[in-house]
Each structure stands twice: as structure tokens, then as C-alpha cells.
Subunit: 148 residues, 2 copies
């Protein structure tokens, strides 16, 4: 398990891969982002994208799942305090295989009353061609090692 005291600026952590199947893209979008370019490969041709693409919120949700399954194994879990920026520089296409690289970019000096610290992470989600499809700067609340 990793605790707040173990974190170092510049350290990176890695996730396994997840394949974005067309079925998963359409199922997510029908429920949460029902727009032609996310739900219907044929109708998507007449849209800005020109083909079926995953919802950015689907990519964000998959990224969260990959963070939870990464080697950043935080005691108490991966608890976000907020996101400072979230960008999708490239669309996610059916069949893309995503993975996440997390880098610690800032470590807070204060502790909460419940014995937690704060860290800022750059979380980049890559496709199988090593191109960034999502970049996020997020603040996490991270448990400190128990005293004694």
C-alpha cells in the first residue's frame, strides 16, 4: 500500500490497458451522452466528427477505473478533491486500447484533521499509438501512514 509519505514529485504510476469496444462506447453513450456521434456509426458520418467516437465522459470514467487498478495503490482509495483541467486532445475510436500514466506534480504541506494530505497529479490517458486522448490535472486526498 502507498501512503502520503511515500509520494515524491516526479514519480510516475501506470495502469493496465482497457479496450474501447464499439458496444461499450454505444452502451455508455445511450445512457449518459445520447448524441449521434457517440451512439450510431451510420448517423455519425453526418456530424462534426465524421465517425463514431467515445464520449469524453466515457473516456474519463474508463480512466478512473484504470487509475483504481494501477500500481498507485493508495490506502483508503483514490479520492478526488477536484479537477483543475480536463482536455480531450484527440477522439477515442472503437477498438482503441487505453492506458493511464499518473505523475505526481505537487505535494501539499498541510494535513487534514483526519490525517490526510493532498497531492496534485497529471493523469494522461494514451491510446495504443502512444497518443494522448485525455489529459487531466487532479487533486487527490491521500491517507497518511498511521502513527505508532
Amino acid at each position: 500500500m502507498i501512503y502520503f509519505e511515500d509520494l515524491e514529485v516526479g514519480s510516475t504510476y501506470h495502469s493496465p490497458e482497457h479496450e474501447m469496444t464499439p458496444e461499450e462506447i454505444v452502451t455508455f453513450a445511450r445512457q449518459y451522452d445520447p448524441q449521434d456521434f457517440h451512439t450510431d456509426a451510420e448517423a455519425a458520418k453526418a456530424t462534426l466528427f465524421g465517425h463514431l467516437v467515445a464520449s469524453g465522459w466515457h473516456t474519463a470514467a474508463v480512466t478512473m477505473g484504470l487509475m483504481v487498478r494501477s500500481n498507485l495503490e493508495l490506502d483508503g482509495g483514490v479520492i478526488g478533491q477536484g479537477v483543475e483541467s480536463l482536455r480531450w486532445p484527440r477522439p477515442v475510436l472503437p477498438g482503441d486500447r487505453l492506458r493511464v500514466v499518473m505523475e505526481i506534480i505537487e505535494i501539499g504541506t498541510e494535513r487534514t484533521r483526519t490525517g490526510r494530505g493532498r497531492a496534485k497529479l497529471r493523469c494522461r490517458t494514451f491510446n495504443q499509438n502512444d497518443k494522448v486522448v485525455q489529459e487531466m490535472i487532479a487533486n487527490l486526498v491521500i491517507a497518511c501512514r498511521r502513527a505508532g
Copy 2:
């Protein structure tokens, strides 16, 4: 249909409501954010939250769906360019009924080569007690009215 030219700073748009059932909270989290406080009401008692809460990414996905079904009916769809900030000031609990209020806070002066403009929105997601559970500042790409 609403076009870029129709937007005014200060205008607000509203969504319908969506109820966060315990089943939906757990189903989303099992797939995208598998942590005890999102997937297991009993195990959640021993976590930082003390009870089952929705994943922030679930709230974000539901917010997107509510934006698509709101009266901000944009020709060409709701297309995000990026998010400048995303916060979850309060947890979302099973049974909460969410709705979204969108406010135009900035309108870009440039147009893209494909005839689109940019606008910045404050999107606040409220629960049934009118408390903010998510606040997001997002930039959208919005189609202009066709010439002629």
C-alpha cells in the same frame, strides 16, 4: 434550435431531473470506479465517506446526459472542447434527484474554419435540496447559423 449567434452572457438553461438510484450508483461504480464507498453500502461504513456515495464520474456522466436533454438545444450537439475546473463540493447519495443549470459566462469572438464559435459555461448540478453537488466550468464548440 439554438445557434452561436443566439447566446448571451448571463443566459441560463435548465435540464430535467434524474434520480440516482442505489442500483445505478453501484452498477456504474462496479464498471468504472470499483471502490467500496461506491459499490457496497455495508463496506462503505468503514471508509472516509461512512456510507454509499456516487462516483464523481457518475455524477459527471449524468450531468452530461441532463445537458443533452436540457433546453440548451444546440444544432450539431453539445460538444465539449475542454473543462477548466470540475469540483464535487458535496457527495451524491442514493435517492438524490439531480438537475443541471447552465449559465453562459463568456462568448468567444473568433470562429473556426468550420463555422463554429466557442462559449464558456458554468454548469452547476443541484440535488433535490438545491445544494450544489458538482460545479464545472466548460468550453463548448457551438455551430453558427448557416449563411443565406
